[in-house]
């Protein structure tokens, strides 16, 4: 390809923005901050906790944080993809509960069967959500609200009271530690973290999700199959939450149809804290946010405060974070 000289006028008066055109050395710190602030907050929080509490100086604490975090991070992945694509998924919590319920009932027959059924279930819920949003053109909030009701009911039918049978080998695997290091949990966390980041940042699909969330109509004009992208987003959410539920079932060794709601809350707050909006954000910041959620929970437990403080803190946190994000966005424009 042979191109010829074409200069965009760089030195006319209105270009007070010349400085901004390149990532000059002055720009780097702000850019870095924007992409890593959640890690920094997490670091500061841990530093604070280590200084002032005994518990955070012990390795067991971090182990339990990781255990707590794993199901949340799976639910958060789904929510992240959906929100970036421009929608909402209210059903992640109930999918987690239903997954534990299904596992607790089917694993008795055959553990592998149980796992497969859980995955199929997640896929089914995701597909239903996807169809409703894409084909029936129902607003994602309403659609996932409806599935939230229905799946909740379904979970209660399967598992009216907590209990059931989770394959002991599976449970052991989930809680497996080597010299006190929770190896399965760690691998799972790492795996989903890496998958989530790579999927969104480094795959065609991920880029298209951002495009759809950024401007649906323009994305369509560019030839992107918007319907397919949206549909897949909800399917990913369903499957991911189901896996999270499966892991949780292994951890607590029961099925519980009512356990999911805090997972919706925590996943949602983590995703929002990670700076996720339609068309912007990424899983890289959601990961520390999830760890932060789990850490706050642990801290509250150690301080022997009622677990309800967990909710108080997170509720206020959610509002504060978004208010601040809005402030910053306004000042930037």
């Amino acid at each position: 390809m042979n191109f010829y000289g074409l200069t965009s006028k760089r030195n006319s008066a209105s270009k007070s923005r010349v400085g901004k055109r390149r990532a000059t050395s002055g720009q780097r710190p702000t850019e870095m901050l924007k992409n890593w602030y959640v890690w920094i907050i997490l670091g500061l929080f841990w530093a604070f906790c280590i200084t002032f509490t005994k518990e955070f100086q012990s390795i067991y604490t971090y182990r339990s944080i990781l255990l707590l975090a794993v199901p949340i991070v799976f639910a958060a992945l789904g929510e992240t993809v959906v929100i970036i694509s421009g929608g909402f998924d209210l059903s992640v919590g109930v999918v987690v509960s239903a997954a534990t319920a299904i596992a607790s009932v089917t694993m008795g027959i055959n553990p592998v069967l149980g796992m497969v059924l859980v995955l199929v279930f997640g896929l089914a819920v995701g597909a239903i959500n996807g169809l409703g949003v894409v084909k029936a053109k129902i607003d994602s909030f309403i659609m996932t609200l409806g599935t939230m009701f229905a799946v909740n009911g379904l979970a209660l039918v399967i598992r009216p009271t907590p209990g059931g049978y989770i394959d002991p080998a599976f449970s052991r695997l989930m809680l497996y530690t080597v010299y006190d290091f929770p190896i399965t949990t760690f691998i799972l966390f790492l795996a989903i973290g890496v998958t989530g980041v790579l999927l969104l940042q480094r795959k065609n699909f991920g880029r298209e999700v951002f495009a759809v969330g950024g401007d649906k109509e323009k994305a369509r004009r560019t030839g992107i199959n918007v319907d397919r992208i949206e549909f897949l987003a909800y399917v990913i959410s369903g499957v991911s939450s189901a896996i999270g539920g499966l892991i949780l079932a292994g951890q607590i060794n029961t099925g519980d149809a009512e356990i999911g709601l805090p997972y919706l809350f925590n996943a949602f707050v983590a995703v929002v804290l990670g700076g996720t909006l339609a068309g912007v954000g990424g899983f890289l910041q959601v990961i520390p946010a999830v760890l932060l959620m789990a850490s706050i929970r642990s801290l509250i437990r150690f301080l022997e405060m009622s677990t309800w403080y967990d909710f108080v803190v997170k509720g206020a946190f959610l509002i504060a974070v978004v208010a601040i994000q809005q402030r910053i966005a306004k000042r930037g424009s």
């Binding site: 390809m1 042979n2 191109f3 010829y4 000289g5 074409l6 200069t7 965009s8 006028k9 760089r10 006319s12 923005r17 901004k20 055109r21 390149r22 990532a23 790579l198 940042q201 480094r202 795959k203 065609n204 880029r207 298209e208 951002f210 495009a211 969330g213 950024g214 401007d215 323009k218 994305a219 004009r221 560019t222 030839g223 992107i224 068309g279 912007v280």
Partner: protein
């Protein structure tokens, strides 16, 4: 003679209007063809058909001799080799320049199944460097200036190596030097045997770069000329030609000249820096007078009206009503002083589409009245008065506004504002998108209102309206008022020239 693109009897109908009527022409390989016409003549519609946005209602397009059924922009690009730059940007603001350049094609950069961003950015830089564009490819597209965005989209189009390049008003945001270089590129493309379709309002540019010109008027092909055979005036004549049959109400100029009245509305030294530039605007508007803000689109006319109405927070300058200074910082201040505005962006700023006609009509009044109770009967009566006065076509007052046609919606908007009994009406393109019949009605209404004492400051884009509706014309360019003309007796080419002329 190898015709690379042939259009045969292309007709395009939209719900309210026939945008193209039996247009036929052919383009050769290796030529640059300019397309000119007034606002609404059909230029963009024609391009959109070639770019695959929508198909023609009637007629056929042939590419390199074969019938072409262009179903989508992607198909236009891949199958037929047609690509170009739209008038409205197509870049996703939240993605960065590199990502936008290769949107949809990221798999080209897969290394072991994952996008290699290093390679993506490098390639993007290479593409931009080819045009000597010094833009950081990691910047979000939303932060680029209009000019930079246009150039990036141009680079993107060229990167697909199209045979036919379509450019819709690309020079609008560019500076002179960039335009010169752009033209050099176009000439080189021509040498390579590519075909360029160049649409522009700027006649001088079209004459400079094109080999031939197509002139559209009211959706019909008014002329097909070789550029070397024509001058600017000839193009203007072809563009304007026969009247559409628009009739305008008589002006009352005799009366105006006698009453040496004080200004009702005085704007002195209005200047703004953000978001658009306005430079030292001075306007004296008298009672019952209609003044038109004219000029090319986007020269600050709409922003000026927004300022007077309180939608722009920081401006320098003063506004006087009846000789007294007034503070207008938000719309509600303006309304309180009897100044109202009809927006050009009706869907965003005027219309509550899901509400009924009745509710829309009472929208401005509702907030103004001191009583907190509403008497629905009274509101209905008022609304009905306006419906009959303006001949608004609606089965009932409770009909949802989105079921009304554009013209009727416009009348509802007008009724809404008249209900607060204003003294000044700021009308931003009040007739855009309306059919001829409705336009005539709106002109009559506006003139009657002016006769009744309402002062009107309006932004008009169509030449005919500018010449026939107002009493005075203020031509704006780049945020300032460059000419003041009396409408009576003004000739069209003189007006058109004032739009383009250098000071």
């Amino acid at each position: 003679m190898s015709a690379v693109l042939e259009a045969e009897s292309i007709t395009k109908d939209f719900p309210a209007v026939r945008a193209l009527d039996n247009v036929s022409f052919l383009l050769e390989k290796g030529e640059i063809c300019g397309v000119v016409g007034e606002n609404g003549a059909g230029k963009s519609t024609l391009l959109n058909i070639f770019l695959g946005i929508f198909p023609p209602t009637k007629g056929e397009v042939r590419i390199r001799g074969e019938k072409a059924d262009i179903k989508s922009p992607a198909q236009a690009r891949e199958k037929y080799g047609i690509d170009g730059v739209f008038q409205a940007p197509i870049s996703i603001p939240t993605l960065n320049v590199a990502e936008n350049l290769f949107l949809g094609k990221e798999s080209m950069f897969y290394k072991r199944g994952l996008i290699d961003f290093g390679e993506l950015h490098d390639q993007a830089r290479r593409v931009l460097n080819g045009l000597n564009l010094d833009i950081d490819v990691t910047l979000p597209a939303g932060t680029l200036t209009a000019a930079e965005l246009k150039l990036v989209e141009f680079a993107k189009a060229l990167n697909h190596n199209p045979e036919i390049i379509v450019l819709d008003e690309v020079t609008a945001p560019l500076e002179r030097e960039a335009i010169t270089r752009l033209f050099e590129i176009l000439k080189n493309l021509r040498k390579e045997g590519k075909t360029v379709i160049f649409v522009s309002h700027r006649l001088k540019e079209v004459l400079e770069i094109s080999d031939r010109c197509l002139v559209l008027r009211d959706g019909k092909l008014a002329g097909r000329v070789r550029t070397e055979d024509v001058e600017e005036e000839d193009l203007v004549e072809l563009m304007t030609g026969q009247r559409r049959g628009l009739s305008f109400p008589e002006r009352d100029l005799g009366k105006r000249r006698e009453e040496k009245e004080e200004s009702l509305l005085s704007v002195r030294g209005l200047s703004v820096v953000k978001p658009t530039v306005l430079k030292n605007i001075n306007i004296e508007l008298r009672r019952g007078e209609i003044i038109a803000l004219a000029g090319l689109r986007g020269q600050g006319q709409s922003e000026l009206l927004k300022c007077i109405f309180g939608l722009v927070p920081n401006y320098d300058g003063k506004i006087y009503l009846h000789g007294k200074k007034v503070e207008i910082k938000k719309p509600v201040d303006a309304i309180r002083h009897g100044i109202v505005r009809i927006s050009d962006d009706k869907e965003r700023e005027e219309l509550c589409l899901t509400l009924s006609v009745l509710r829309n009509m009472s929208l401005a009044k509702v907030s103004r009245q001191s009583k907190w109770l509403i008497n629905p009967k009274e509101e209905r009566k008022n609304a009905e008065t306006f419906v009959s006065m303006f001949r608004i076509e609606t089965p009932s007052l409770d009909q949802q506004l989105l079921n009304l046609s554009g013209g009727n919606r416009q009348k509802v908007v007008l009724s809404k504002w008249l209900q607060v009994k204003p003294e000044v009406l700021l009308a931003d393109q009040p007739t855009v998108g309306l059919d001829v019949g409705t336009k005539i009605e709106v002109y009559r209404i506006l003139r009657d209102l002016a006769k009744g004492g309402l002062s009107i400051l309006t932004v008009l884009t169509e030449m005919e309206e500018v010449l026939n509706l107002p009493d005075r014309i203020l031509v704006m360019r780049e945020g300032g008022i460059v000419r003041e003309l009396t409408a009576e007796g003004l000739k069209e080419d003189e007006l058109l020239r004032s739009y383009f002329e250098e000071e």
